[in-house]
C-alpha cells in the first residue's frame, strides 16, 4: 500500500512520514533545528509533489505531500485519479496531518519569498516544533488504520 501523509506545507507531512518509518522520535526534540534539516531543509519549502521517504517493515511505501490546499480536495483528487485510471482504492491511503491552515508555515513561506530568511527560518523551526504532536498523532492514526485494514501496522 502507498501511504500518503499530507499537510498544508511539506514539513508536517514529512514529520509524520518519518515517524511512521521510525526515522524520527514521537517525542519532540529540545532543538528542532537538526530535525528541520532532516526533513529536507529549504528544499522542503518547495512544493515538489509526492516525496517517498521509504518503506515500512510491512512493505508499505510511505510518502509525504505538501498539498497547499484543502484536505478534502486532496482526497477527492486522488480518488478521482484512482477512478479514472482504474487504480485500486485499497492500494493507497491518505492521512491528513496538522491544521487545514498552518499559519506558521504560510508565514515562513511568505517570509522566504520576501527574502527575509532569518524570519522564515524562525517560523519554520517554530512550525516544526509546533507540529510535532499533530505529526505524531497522524503517524499513529496512519498505523492504526493500516492495522484495521489488515495491512500490518500497530
Amino acid at each position: 500500500m502507498l501511504v500518503i501523509y499530507h499537510s498544508r506545507g511539506a514539513y508536517s507531512a514529512r514529520q509524520a512520514a518519518a515517524m511512521h518509518l521510525g526515522l524520527l522520535p514521537a517525542e519532540p526534540p529540545a532543538d528542532p533545528a537538526p530535525m528541520r534539516e532532516r526533513l529536507g531543509g529549504d528544499q522542503a519549502m518547495q512544493y515538489e509533489g509526492l516525496h517517498v521517504l521509504g518503506t515500512d517493515p510491512h512493505g508499505h511505501r510511505i510518502a509525504a505531500l505538501g498539498r497547499a490546499s484543502r484536505p478534502d480536495v486532496t482526497h477527492r483528487a486522488f480518488q478521482a485519479m484512482a477512478d479514472v485510471f482504474g487504480i485500486d482504492e485499497r492500494s493507497f491511503m491518505l492521512q491528513s496531518v496538522g491544521p487545514v491552515v498552518d499559519w506558521r508555515e504560510l508565514g515562513a513561506r511568505l517570509a522566504a519569498r520576501l527574502g527575509w530568511r532569518s524570519l522564515a527560518l524562525r517560523l519554520q523551526l517554530s512550525d516544526v516544533a509546533a507540529q510535532w504532536g499533530p505529526a505524531a498523532e497522524a503517524a499513529a492514526t496512519g498505523a492504526q488504520r493500516l492495522a484495521v485494514l489488515g495491512h500490518g501496522g500497530t
Partner: protein
C-alpha cells in the same frame, strides 16, 4: 490520452478550456457572453465537487478531456497527482495536466467567487462570463497549443 484542464473549482476556466478543446465553444472566433454562460457545465460545480474529475467528452482522437478543480494549489497538486500515477505504474506520457486558471482575470475571479461562494448566482455568473469573454483569446491560445501538440487541427 487523458487531458485534465485544471483550475480552482472546475466551474469556469477548466470548463471553458475543455469545451474549447471539444469544439463545443468556437476556436475560430470570440464566443458571445451568452454562449459562454450557456456552455455545458459552466458555473455549475459545487464546493463539495472540487477535486472531482469531470469527463467533458472525447476529442477527434478519442482523447478523454476532463475538467478538474484543485482549489488553491493547482500546480503542486497536479505535480502530486502525476507522481501518484507514476507510482502506480500509469504511463504518464499519456496524461496531460494543463493549467487553465492562468488565463483567469479579475472579473472571472470576482464573478466566480460571487456565484459559487456567495450564492449570488445571477450577477456572479454574468460577471464571470464577461471575464471569460475578456480573456477568451488566452483560452483559445492554450487550447490551440494543446491541440497542436496532439496533432489535432485548430481552426
Amino acid at each position: 490520452m487523458r487531458i485534465f484542464y485544471f483550475c480552482y473549482g472546475s466551474a469556469h476556466s477548466s470548463i471553458t478550456a475543455a469545451n474549447l478543446h471539444l469544439g463545443v465553444m468556437p476556436l475560430g472566433r470570440r464566443a458571445r457572453v451568452s454562449e459562454i454562460i450557456h456552455q455545458p457545465m459552466f458555473d455549475r460545480a459545487e464546493n463539495y465537487q472540487i477535486g472531482q474529475a469531470i469527463l467533458m467528452g472525447t476529442d477527434e482522437q478519442a482523447n478523454e478531456i476532463y475538467a478538474l478543480g484543485l482549489a488553491g494549489s493547482q500546480h503542486p497538486m497536479a505535480h502530486a497527482l502525476r507522481d501518484f500515477l507514476e507510482l502506480n505504474g500509469v504511463d504518464t506520457g499519456q496524461v496531460l495536466f494543463a493549467d487553465a486558471l492562468q488565463n483567469a482575470g479579475l472579473s472571472m475571479r470576482i464573478g466566480g467567487f460571487s456565484s459559487r461562494r456567495l450564492g449570488l448566482i445571477f450577477p456572479g455568473r454574468q460577471i464571470c462570463a464577461f471575464g471569460v469573454w475578456q480573456k477568451y483569446p488566452k483560452f483559445v491560445a492554450l487550447v490551440r497549443r494543446i491541440r497542436t501538440g496532439l496533432g489535432l487541427p485548430s481552426p
